[in-house]
């Protein structure tokens, strides 16, 4: 789902606060293993910040091109990931590219195949997970 700028900024502030307290903790921590795990957390934080920045940029781009390519369900059905074609799936009216998504090997994922509207299937397993923000958007399903 596309997040609003406000939610993105709130999350960024949260991450920055967490990181600051982690950094304070690092100065005092005697155990190198615990420190390693805090460092991992910090690096996850920077990764998420990076991700959030990309989302901000993407939001901007969306506004610049309000009419992304419109894709009909017939057109979508060509993008099965077979015969050299890319693999697209639609969720909630948006078409995503899963061609090179690791979880979609051979354009299949837990018995699902690409080239379809998988809104219901997605909701049945991934409701509330932030998975879609990481996928490349190719257009709108019309």
């Amino acid at each position: 789902m596309i997040k609003s700028e406000k939610t993105i900024c709130q999350r960024m502030k949260q991450i920055i606060e967490e990181s600051e307290s982690n950094i304070k903790m690092l100065f005092k921590m005697p155990c190198i293993y615990a420190r390693t795990s805090v460092l991992f957390e910090l690096s996850a934080n920077t990764a998420e910040l990076n991700e959030l920045c990309s989302q901000l940029i993407e939001n901007e781009n969306r506004q610049v091109q309000p009419t992304q390519s419109n894709i009909t369900i017939e057109q979508l059905s060509q993008f099965t990931g077979k015969n050299g074609n890319p693999a697209y799936v639609a969720v909630n009216g948006i078409v995503y590219d899963v061609t090179n998504n690791a979880a979609w090997a051979a354009a299949t994922h837990f018995g699902l195949t690409a080239g379809k509207d998988l809104t219901d299937e997605f909701a049945s397993c991934h409701a509330g997970h932030s998975i879609l923000d990481k996928l490349k958007v190719v257009g709108k399903l019309i």
Binding site: Y33, G81, A102
Partner: protein, 299 residues
């Protein structure tokens, strides 16, 4: 005052030696005579008995160590000397006392379980369904071993003629789940050792033992750099990433890349076979196709 980086990641390092460490601890407790042997019941229900075969292949420790030092094996239909009603006596008499229950195979539910009869007790057929109901609630711990017991697996694959279900679908209690087709001997022995030493191990949100089931195959795959650089095998036998052929490593949580099989000598991906997700819920139906030659374009 920042100390030098320890260099190697202690977490990953530790995860490669988990079962071994637990077993070492078990051995020292046995030496000190402080470990109490517990009773173990191993039911083979609707499946291929591959998990007990896999366990017999365990090397660290081996099966003999398990049954002489760690547990009293009260019942296992493939391995026990008693047969017929005498064997079932051992099983039914156990229900009043303390025991750990391991179940391999799914539970066939069609016609009230009549598709899988594991023996006769006082002239009546004892179905797999009845056995699990009888023994499941009273066990101190229930461990579902292998794909069929944890989620139905091959036995519940379409069209599932015997209406097989997982152990959890029958029991309203915590069932520790060790998916895999079959379960690696270390995953079971490590879990059992943990129960003997410390009680129930830490589990994830699907009740899998976190010690073994926390990493994705894709996380530690030796072919990962090929994936990251978009270098994909187009047919079996090539040494690059098998993602385009349908590798399920990216959705399968288990430690095969570091543990390996058959006394730690090899594992599918090193032998040029894509991961087929045998240790993931939904195997086999949800992991198909296992191999696909008709693929997307290169990156």
């Amino acid at each position: 005052m920042i100390e030098k980086n320890p260099g190697i990641c202690p977490m990953l390092n530790a995860s490669s030696g988990t079962a071994k460490n637990l077993i070492e601890k078990i051995k020292s407790e046995i030496m000190r005579n402080s470990l109490v042997k517990r009773d173990l019941i191993w039911l083979e229900l609707t499946g291929c008995s591959g998990n007990i075969i896999s366990l017999l292949n365990g090397s660290n420790p081996d099966f003999k160590f398990l049954i002489t030092n760690m547990v009293n094996l009260i019942y296992n239909n493939s391995l026990m000397a008693a047969e017929g009603e005498a064997a079932l006596d051992a099983l039914v008499n156990k229900t009043g006392s303390d025991y750990i229950l391991a179940v391999e195979g799914a539970i066939s539910t069609k016609n009230n379980g009549l598709y899988n009869i594991i023996g006769r007790w006082k002239g009546e057929p004892l179905t797999a369904l009845k056995a699990v109901q009888l023994l499941g609630d009273r066990a101190s711990h229930v461990i579902a071993v292998g794909a069929c017991a944890t989620h139905g697996g091959v036995s519940a694959a379409r069209p599932n003629p015997a209406e097989c279900v997982s152990v959890q679908s029958i029991l309203k209690r915590k069932v520790i789940k060790l998916p895999g087709c079959p379960c690696h001997p270390d995953w079971f022995l490590g879990t059992l050792a943990h129960i003997l030493l410390y009680g129930e191990p830490e589990l994830d949100d699907r009740d899998r033992h976190l010690l073994f089931y926390s990493m994705l195959i894709h996380d530690r795959c030796p072919r990962r750099s090929y994936f990251d650089n978009g270098v994909f095998a187009t047919r079996l036998g090539e040494k690059t990433c098998m993602f385009k052929l349908g590798c399920r490593g990216p959705v399968t949580r288990i430690d095969c890349p570091v543990r390996q099989w058959n006394s730690y000598v090899n594992w599918p991906i090193r032998d040029d076979t894509p991961c087929i997700g045998c240790a993931m819920f939904g195997f086999p139906d949800s992991m198909e196709p296992f191999i696909s030659y008709d693929t997307t374009r290169k990156r």
